[in-house]
Symmetry: C2
Subunit: 183 residues, 2 copies
DNA sequence: CCCGAATGAGACGTTGACGTCTCATTCGAA
DNA sequence: TTCGAATGAGACGTCAACGTCTCATTCGGG
């Protein structure tokens, strides 16, 4: 009977990242609950969005921790990160899409911290000669977010098999589309 | 004095792709015109969105034509496509984001046609041994859209230099982040 | 079984964006 | 310069979503 708050948030993220104009009623129906119940758990739309931000940041941070970005070769750390972040891909897509993380040209503090960790991974890879230095860490970071969001959506609409999620992102991001001889 | 319709649409796309809940008044202000004038050119919000769809599809189609995707090596054709699509990156980002291209689980006809052309390019590259075959054309197509949208946004917020737009997308999409010996 | 808590459905007033309209002003061509 | 067309500012009614509330029902622990 009791509402699964996390599940409601995941469903809301999946819906709102694709249709950010969705009604509170639509969000509630998508989560399989009534509008009144949705309001009981989240005082209003703003509160829902803030809860989504906090939950997404929390989940993303957990993925970053679990991936142990500082250990081993940077490409391997990136693989671990993508694997860990997969369950939170929908939330991450919402975070990246919803630019309400910027409150008046100022980035959300929590997000900025996580963003720096990802960026540091790419920088480490460059310093250790594993990543190309002509692609900036900032761009690689943004590209990672973009590919995760894109792939999560592609999986939802059936353009990419769910089992291929990690592989498609990792391989494209690390190796690119071009076929090379030694691979 | 007369309003530049195309410029209004480009501005609206740039705004709405980042804040899809933006008011008609906000759209008008962003375009530097009055709300009344915006309504004179676009009967309402729906009409504006439809105009954005049509304009974006039209611009994207022009880029596809200009890129001559059937000629020469597929990687070169992809480079040309990214170069041609750059001016319409904002519109493309809006198209990909706004999933109103799907009218009841059915994809917009015009968009489906363009989508097929991009997908065909990747398939040709695979058949000719230029692209990897373990990344599906559908995924490469979606990834291209995602990277274009991501990079367009990164440029807007100053995370990527405008001059690097084409390079960052092409190099990441074709070669990936990993540093290889022979490159 | 029983009872309290939580939920779903719906009613209701409020609010903000929408769409239309008017009117003064400004632009640009003749 | 002149005049028509276009624009900007603002007023106004409409409407859909919001947020709150009530009440009957259902779930689940004791």
């Amino acid at each position: 009977m009791t509402v699964d708050r996390d599940q409601v948030l995941r469903t809301a993220a999946a819906l709102l990242s694709r249709k950010s104009t969705a009604t509170m009623d639509e969000v509630a129906r998508a989560a399989g609950i009534g509008r009144a119940t949705l309001h009981r758990h989240f005082a209003g739309r703003d509160a829902l969005v803030r809860a989504l931000e906090n939950f997404g940041i929390e989940q993303f941070e957990a993925a970053l921790d679990a991936a142990r970005l500082d250990e081993g070769p940077a490409p391997d750390a990136l693989r671990r990160l993508i694997a860990e972040v997969e369950p939170a891909a929908g939330l991450l897509a919402f975070l990246v899409t919803e630019n309400q993380l910027f409150e008046g040209d100022q980035m959300n503090e929590g997000w900025a911290r996580l963003d720096a960790r990802v960026s540091a991974l790419f920088r480490r890879g460059q310093e250790q000669g594993e990543f190309r230095i002509d692609l900036t860490p900032a761009w690689l970071t943004e590209a990672l977010y973009g590919l995760i969001g894109t792939c999560a959506w592609a999986v939802q609409v059936g353009r990419v098999a769910a089992n291929d999620f990690q592989y498609m992102i990792v391989e494209l991001l690390l190796g690119g589309a071009r076929r090379s001889v030694e691979k």
